[in-house]
């Protein structure tokens, strides 16, 4: 994937660019808003990682607003030190698709960037999600694996749906908390792990091959292998 990183801090930018390249992405980097806007508007990217406070007269919000005004719908992830709830709301209102605050873990950033690009591609309404022998019917809200019906609680259904929609990608606990529960805080208790483990009991335990994998130091991944 082609990813544009607009970030003025050399160390943070170097860390992000290196990490993204190591995971197989093609990365362009701009260290000010003006260059970032030029690159974003003139070339095609699958995602943009955007800092909010940028030198060069064009800050992150302005850059994004200009881009959206031109009809450019490239997914944008804000990466900002501005961590107040209102900052986040403002970033999303300006057309951002996700908002991360510094400091951050690279695994979280990678997972979110990859989730963004996937979302951009599959916007057509789907009625069925599948992975290996697991099948989810979104209309009848039923789940089958190897032809066998699996009974899920509503929340478990949504958790599995989220994992299926991001199949093959790392999904962090924070992403699950935001995407499945719509919570924007980090509980101290391992509530997400418990819910995933319950889902595993139903979806993986009765079958020979597990689909939901734990990714160390990052989160979970639903993968058919």
């Amino acid at each position: 994937m082609r990813i544009l990183v607009v970030e003025d801090d050399k160390d943070v930018a170097g860390f992000v660019v290196k990490g993204l390249k190591e995971t197989g992405h093609v990365v362009e980097h701009a260290d000010n808003g003006r260059d970032g806007l030029f690159l974003a508007a003139s070339e095609n990217f699958d995602a943009i990682v955007l800092d909010r406070m940028l030198p060069g007269g064009v800050d992150g919000l302005r850059l994004l607003e200009t881009l959206r005004a031109q009809g450019n719908q490239t997914p944008v992830l804000f990466l900002s030190a501005m961590a107040q709830v209102d900052d986040r709301v403002r970033g999303l209102k300006a057309g951002g698709d996700d908002y991360m605050t510094k400091p951050f873990a690279f695994s979280e950033l990678l997972a979110r960037v990859e989730a963004l690009t996937r979302r951009g591609k599959t916007d057509a309404p789907q009625t069925k999600l599948t992975a290996s022998d697991l099948e989810m019917d979104l209309l009848s809200r039923s789940v089958r694996r190897a032809g066998q019906k699996i009974d899920l609680q509503p929340r478990e259904f949504r958790l599995l749906e989220y994992l299926l929609r991001h199949a093959g990608q790392v999904v962090t606990r924070t992403m699950l908390l935001e995407g499945v529960w719509d919570y924007h805080f980090d509980p101290q208790t391992n509530v997400i792990d418990v819910h995933v483990s319950r889902l595993r009991q139903k979806v993986d335990k009765p079958f020979p091959t597990p689909l939901i994998h734990t990714v160390r130091n990052a989160g979970y991944m639903l993968r058919a292998d």
Partner: protein
Amino acid sequence: MAEQLKWLSRRARMDIWLVFHPQTLMRSAGVRFGLIYAGLFALSAVALTAFLWWSTAGLLDRQTETAINADAQGLVERFLDGPNALVETIQDRLAANVDDDAIYLLADSNLRPIAGNLELWPKMVTSDVEWTEIPIDRAGVRGLARIRQFVLPGGYHLLVGRDVQARAQLRRILGDALIWAPSIVVALGVAGALAVRSLFRITINDVAATAAAFSRGDLTRRVRVTGMGDEFDRLAEEINNMLDRVASLMDGVRQVSNAIAHDLRTPITRARARLEDAGRSARSEADLHAAIERAQSDLDGIVAVFQALLRISEIEAGARRSAFARVDLGPLLFDLAELYTAAAEENGQVLVHDIPPILPIFGDRDMLQQAVANLLDNALKFSPPGSTIRLAAGASGRMLEISVSDQGPGIPPEDRARATERFFRGETARSTPGSGLGLSLVQAVAVLHGGTLRLEDNRPGLRAVMSMPALTAANAPPFHS
């Protein structure tokens, strides 16, 4: 001149200079009010004079007419006894008229005077005039008279009148008064302006002095409340409330700075020590990786504490109130109960809930979720396996309550007041992981919603109760489409 100036105190001279200096004159609210007062005063003085003139002159006119009519009636009756009787009566009356204001004139058909105190028949009084007012000349004194003419049988004409010079004098007095009125009005206006201005000064000076002292850093200074309960007292109370709020915010900032200075030092020291130790004495790459990972998680912990601190300050500053909306606590709490039930079961605990389906509040959804999650986190953390945790909510009157009760060690009564302070960790909590910020945040959220956080004894365990105003018709926000 110098002597006179010395007689005035310096302050008084300043006042005079301030009041009459053209530039400061209009800038003083006291002078402005004084001028308004003077204008109103002038207006009412003119109105009063006009009214006085109208009523006094009218009364005099009516009195004169009554007197003339009574007089005339007597004379006409006398005329029935013949003209000579009338002449006699006129002379009697003139002799008896001490005030010398009566006017009589009896004339024959050719208007030649027969008797009375006018030498000539006034030219202005023709036969068709009944009531009139004429200037008269009596013994060299000019005057004004109001007269009535009677045409008597036999071609006689009778004039009965009264000298109304008194009315003219009244007019002159009132006229003089009107000439003097502006100067009196100006004098009184200036006096009023000075009085109003000094009243203003006394009240405003204290407010200004307090504000100045406060901005210089004296956070304990407050405006004096006289206790009279007037508008100035209300203003003083409002200003004092504002100063209290500013002081408590400043205190919050100071607390956060102290917390950062002291309480974050420990984990930072730990992380630093770990990295330095690894750099010096790690024997293998695996050792190094392990040390780096631990330091990373230490740093994550520091960041979490940092964010919690900033979040609490953000809430306490009241900035989040702009995100308030109608929130139904029923489903919100139900979702949280569902999220935590599984985790409680994993710990061998039971989470039960008693939540009404609909429980509206005017508030911030994210903050309320986080506050209740913090209480549940605590309850799960401190409760032994096999115990029951209870999440309950309900409205009683105008308040609604969200309570989380556990059967853990609880908080001893002497620690309860301090349990919501930042970084406070009770004896029983020392051994468990945590930052000591959870309850501070819950309290901040409760206060943000105009409520309180109560910590009670659950016998055994802790019962934490968030008590906040319910959404009623009275405090419902305006409807937004």
